[in-house]
């Protein structure tokens, strides 16, 4: 079975999962004991206004019909509209999603850059001081509530030290780069606008650093464990015996072997950080899905919430497939079947 066929099969398998997910979110959204329409219409709304709203959104239809309508819309690109803002959900997701994606990606990169070396050092100095320090530090940082640490960091680095901007993706007076991907870091590079690139890098640094802390511990732990396992393999003993320097063995051979398990954890973390971003964004006024999700959930506005859940489901499935491709690059022995 070749790679292309494997990928097609994997992509096809996303569909039943997403249908299941849509049933799940749909049931959550329709089992609400509260009164979303009443909440959206406001306290002064008469029964007729509420009734009209219900009819407009199709809430008066039987549930199976509502579900089928929602699903056909989903495939046609009509993800419903918000009860509150009356804006198109898919349009909103398109606006807010790049900011969250950018924040999460940078956070995953930081977590990897911190976590993998920490894990490697732990494994090299197994059960000695550097190992213990790395272990305590990673548990220490992962235990902080990220939203709380975000407030502290915002104040320290943004206000007191003035090293970094306090919030948002760019200063008010700087125009965002022309949209290609919606990721400011990449768009500004495409435009060769290095000034905007640096400014947006400064803006994203503290939020993504805080976000990365929650992934640091698991990446360190898995890197250490798989390094330790790889270090005990026969080929390491052989390489040491024929006199290859220890450093070369570690970085050229062992790390590559150990990285497969680490990649899995990194991709899992991508999903977790995407969710964690919801909390961080509220602190840094980061105009991503987080603020959008919080507002929607507080006002029982379920169309956006369902949209976000399905978007996250799609992204997570894609990340899983990409992970499998990376396995194949790292380990040529892996055959897709």
């Amino acid at each position: 079975m070749n790679l292309r066929f494997y990928l097609l099969r994997r992509i096809a398998l996303i569909i039943p999962t997403l249908i299941g997910l849509s049933i799940l979110t749909f049931s959550i959204a329709r089992l609400v004991p509260g009164d979303p329409v009443g909440l959206a219409a406001g306290p002064q709304a008469t029964e007729e206004i509420k009734e009209a709203l219900r009819r407009e959104f199709g809430f008066d239809q039987p549930l199976p019909i509502q579900y089928v309508t929602y699903m056909t819309g989903l495939f046609r690109g009509d993800w419903g509209e918000s009860l509150y803002t009356r804006r198109d959900v898919l349009g909103d997701l398109r606006t807010f999603w790049p900011a969250t994606l950018e924040l999460t990606t940078v956070a995953v990169i930081i977590a990897t850059l911190l976590g993998v070396p920490a894990g490697v050092i732990s494994a090299m100095y197994r059960n000695r001081m550097p190992d213990h320090v790395a272990r305590v530090l990673s548990l220490f940082f992962v235990s902080f509530p990220a939203f709380w640490l975000a407030m502290i960091f915002q104040t320290w680095f943004g206000r007191d030290l003035g090293m970094f901007p306090i919030n948002k993706r760019l200063p008010v007076l700087v125009a965002p780069p022309a949209t290609t991907t919606g990721l400011f870091l990449i768009d500004s590079l495409i435009q060769l606008d290095f000034e905007t690139f640096l400014v947006s890098l400064k803006h994203i640094f503290i939020p993504s650093l805080v976000l990365s802390f929650s992934a640091f511990a698991s990446i360190t732990r898995i890197t250490r464990a798989s390094m330790v396992e790889a270090l005990e393999k026969d080929f390491v003993r052989m390489e040491r015996a024929i006199g290859i320097p220890y450093r070369v063995i570690i970085f050229k051979y062992v790390l590559r072997n150990a990285f497969i398990a680490t990649i899995t954890v990194i991709s899992l973390n991508f999903g977790w950080l995407m969710a964690g971003a919801i909390l961080i964004e509220t602190i840094f006024d980061w105009p991503g899905l987080g603020l959008y999700a919080v507002h929607a959930s507080l006002s029982l506005d379920f169309q956006p919430i369902m949209g976000i859940a399905i978007l996250y489901g799609i992204v997570f499935s894609i990340v899983n497939i990409l992970t499998d491709i990376v396995y194949g690059i790292l380990d040529p022995r892996i055959r897709y079947g």
């Binding site: 997910l21 235990s143 509530p145 379920f302």
Partner: protein, 301 residues
């Protein structure tokens, strides 16, 4: 025939002492692990604070939302060790009074999630076939969306409040336990002692509960301990968003949300509840890390 019972009781005794010996060895390893002992000490401290909260807190009535208009937004002082909030409540008293709540929230979430997850995982792994397929597809659906997103959706749908938050988080927390239990059951099912039990005519329930699950306990306990801290963290996050505990409940996440508007000028309102969450999560993480060494010898070498 007369000596048969005695052989059996002899065997039972030796099995029990083997289990005891394992336990004693584990306890020794746990005790010689400095970090996990630090974690345990911290947790005992937290438990004591929770039990004696009404005695420790100088103003226990502040947990219920007593206002003290004269002492609004006071910085930490002798009277108010952690300062006061926007309506003059003593932060220290509220942090102390919230300890028990945080412990309860974590306990209930983890127990619910473990019960659902272990049941689903054990059935899936033991039954196999289409039952396994269906149960695992359902589990996968929950795992395709980050837990926090679904927890927010479910808690929002059920309505604001600490009980609904706990239900919401438990409903998204079980899939991890289901996956873990299933993989354990799958490998244990092939063990000779399970085959033997089946051979002498033991029923499915007996095999699952007497032979398979007791041997799967260690990894499940490790996961329960490490997850405990994160469950508390998630509940605090929902409280921070405004979905969880409602005022005047002294829930740490909601208290941070309360203090957000006053940060950083009146930094004490949000800072101390955050440190309390950190202490709780850190202690569970240290214990979980130590237990992993004790119960799963392969993990730490």
């Amino acid at each position: 025939m007369a000596e048969l019972p005695s052989i059996q009781s002899e065997k039972r005794k030796s099995a029990r002492s083997a289990r005891w010996e394992n336990f004693a060895r584990g306890l020794y390893r746990f005790r010689s692990n400095t970090l996990s002992m630090v974690g345990l000490t911290m947790l005992i401290f937290i438990l004591l604070v929770a039990i004696f909260a009404p005695i420790i807190a100088p103003y226990p009535e502040d947990a219920a939302g007593k206002t003290r208009v004269m002492a609004r937004l006071q910085p930490p002082s002798e009277d108010f060790v952690f300062g006061t909030d926007k309506i003059g409540r003593d932060i220290f008293s509220r942090v102390v009074m919230g300890t028990g709540l945080a412990l309860q929230v974590g306990t209930i979430i983890i127990l619910l999630a473990t019960t659902i997850g272990v049941t689903v995982g054990a059935i899936a792994g033991y039954a196999g076939g289409w039952i396994d397929d269906i149960l695992m597809r359902i589990t996968d659906i929950f795992l395709t969306v980050p837990a926090l997103v679904l927890a927010i959706a479910i808690s929002a749908a059920l309505g604001k409040g600490i009980v609904n938050t706990m239900i919401g988080i438990s409903l998204v927390w079980w899939p991890g336990f289901a996956r873990l239990t299933r993989s354990l059951v799958l490998s244990l099912r092939e063990e000779p002692f399970v085959e033997a039990a089946f051979g002498i005519g033991a029923g499915h329930m007996r095999i699952i509960f007497r032979h398979i699950l007791p041997n799967a306990v260690s990894p499940i306990i490790i996961k329960m301990t490490t997850d405990f801290g994160f469950a508390v963290l998630t509940a605090a996050a929902l409280g921070f968003i405004g979905l969880g505990a409602q005022p005047p409940t002294p829930e740490w996440g909601a208290m941070i949300n309360d203090g957000r508007r006053f940060f950083p000028d009146e930094w004490w309102i949000a800072t101390f509840p955050g440190l309390a969450i950190w202490l709780m999560v850190f202690s569970w993480n240290l214990i979980g890390d130590g237990l992993r060494d004790v119960l799963d010898p392969r993990a730490r070498r």
